[in-house]
Symmetry: C2
Subunit: 352 residues, 2 copies
């Protein structure tokens, strides 16, 4: 399939979500939630019972079911492909596992040039379960767009270098500051792997992609520009020909929003720390924004959720394109009904 | 002792550190490090052996020794009183302990109005060991200023509400959003306790104070202004009469720097994410800035540390007052010699 023959129907193309990403007029502000497929849903916990995280990402029927669950329940405007940031690393043979309550643990962390040998290119055959799952999904989803999912090179590098959970990324940043050539080579390889992983998803039918740079908010702008942006830009450039919207998000990235847009995103995700009217000043024209209700607001009453949602919508009033989302992922203890009500509220409030 | 008779000598008053805090000309840019007294030093690990964290904060001779260790070793321009954020809470009888590798754990978290009864006013007698330690310290320190230490109301409230470690502060923020009156009353009480704790330190001889709002970077500006700033301002106002510089710091607070200054700080601490020339634009005139080398830079070579330090000093060139510091605390695995070299480098490079 060529870059110009993505399988999306014209109804998908005309969906509120994809129109907002393209900064076109919308019938209502579209809504989806980062981590909408996951632990907040009892039906998710049920189907995941006894199945380790990474294994769950490799079973097409299970991926399809989990991806569809929040679409059925919440009436969100887009599905996000159920996966994990480390899936493409596992797929090329990196020895890692996701320990419950801990996170990804890498058997042999990457610290030297010799360690780069662990990284080979990713081929569609490495992730045939992704192609299969997206085939199933697009049939089930109808006009609802599917967002492809990948971790960005910086965040992948942080996992690979630290080898386990970290709050300060000291080994990763020590390599970034201390051995810029090794760092750049590592990120460049990860950019190729990430781009290949996103291409598989788009060619199988994803109508948009989101590149998660979860931990990049730990960097100052000059370091981001010098040491991270080239690799992220390579990923975005590699999928530019497909014409699907490219979303980019990281938490705590207020200082980096303009650069994350400049890296090649069509839609810049914003956490709850920066009001959207300020975010648009930083990002500049020509980009849509996604966000940004504080996910902890959902632990309050419906009235307070509505009041805080109005603050977000008011701040977004002047935007060319706005995709409503939380400012970070849904927290596991969130009441699913609060999410369903929130979708309905945004749809009703913004109906044109 | 009245507010105008702090025991500092004129040599202390004329120290580079206090002059920089007051935005007066300095012989060199003063340097100290958050967490300079602590686990990065072998002599600290030695004297702490077998002594639980909170107990170590209550032994005046030990506090004195630990506070002095980095001054002796690194030639820093200020000492920071060795304590822990939860010390004043422990002192008023809150049932908490600091679990190694975990952090403060509160036996009965504060979640309801009835729980506020756990909080009573702090008197100097509750922390007589602080007065004693600072008496010992000021004699040993000579002209080197001592910075008093306290956690800010928001951060204390987060610990008390969560009851243990948290990455997202969901219970604290749910109270902040969901029960603003209870939240305000809790923060107001914590402001009084914090102010009393700082007064004890100033009256015993501290020449400056730093109010740590470690976790406040998790808030959006409008929420900070509405729900946190009144309590922080109350603390600063309560110690204004002493005329000692008031420093305010939190990590990830790029969006809040102006408000943290407005709350009453004389010196605004900046983490490494915001270059100091940008920080001064946000904070505005009339405040000194403190910061902001990324602490992970210290895991590289001396040449790279110097290059990154020059970037900080260059960005600080236009400031009225600059106190050099890291952008967050010294990390435990930092090589102490790297810190000693850094102090020397800043002193030499900025000598007028």
């Amino acid at each position: 399939m060529s870059a110009n023959e993505t399988p999306q129907t014209s109804a998908t193309y005309d969906s509120a979500f994809l129109r907002a990403c393209r900064r076109e007029p919308v019938p209502h502000t579209p809504v989806w939630f980062m981590r909408q497929a996951g632990r907040s849903l009892p039906e998710y916990r049920k189907v995941r019972e006894g199945i380790p995280m990474l294994e769950s990402c490799m079973r097409p029927e299970l991926v399809t079911e989990i991806t569809l669950q929040p679409v059925r329940r919440h009436n969100v405007d887009a599905a996000i492909y159920y996966s994990d940031i480390v899936v493409p690393l596992k797929a090329i043979g990196i020895d890692l596992e996701i320990k419950p309550g801990v996170g990804p643990v890498v058997d042999r962390p990457i610290r030297t040039r010799a360690d780069l040998a662990q990284l080979r290119d990713l081929t569609p055959e490495d992730v045939s379960y992704v192609t299969e799952a997206i085939g199933l999904l697009t049939r089930e989803l109808g006009a609802t767009p599917l967002i492809g999912f990948a971790g960005a090179p910086f965040t992948l590098a942080s996992y690979l270098i630290e080898g386990g959970p970290s709050r300060s990324y000291e080994n990763a940043k020590a390599m970034m500051y201390g051995d810029p050539e090794l760092w750049a080579d590592l990120l460049d390889r990860l950019a190729d792997i990430t781009a290949a992983f996103l291409k598989v998803q788009i060619e199988a039918g994803a109508s948009a992609v989101q590149l998660f740079d979860s931990w990049v908010g730990s960097l100052a702008p000059a370091d981001y520009r010098r040491s991270v942006m080239p690799a992220s830009a390579k990923v975005f450039e590699a999928v530019a020909g497909y014409g699907v919207p490219r979303i980019h998000f990281g938490v705590g990235t207020g200082e980096l929003l303009n650069l994350m847009g400049e890296a090649g995103a069509d839609v810049v995700g914003v956490d709850w720390r920066v009001p959207l009217d300020e975010a648009v000043r930083r990002v500049g024209p020509g980009k849509a924004l996604q966000g940004n209700l504080d996910p902890t607001v959902l632990f309050t009453t419906p009235e307070i959720v509505e009041a805080k949602t109005r603050e977000v919508l008011d701040a977004a009033a002047g935007l060319e394109g706005h995709v409503f989302n939380l400012g970070h992922g849904v927290m596991p203890s969130t009441d699913p009904d609060a999410l369903t009500r929130l979708v309905d509220y945004v749809h009703t409030r913004t109906a044109r």
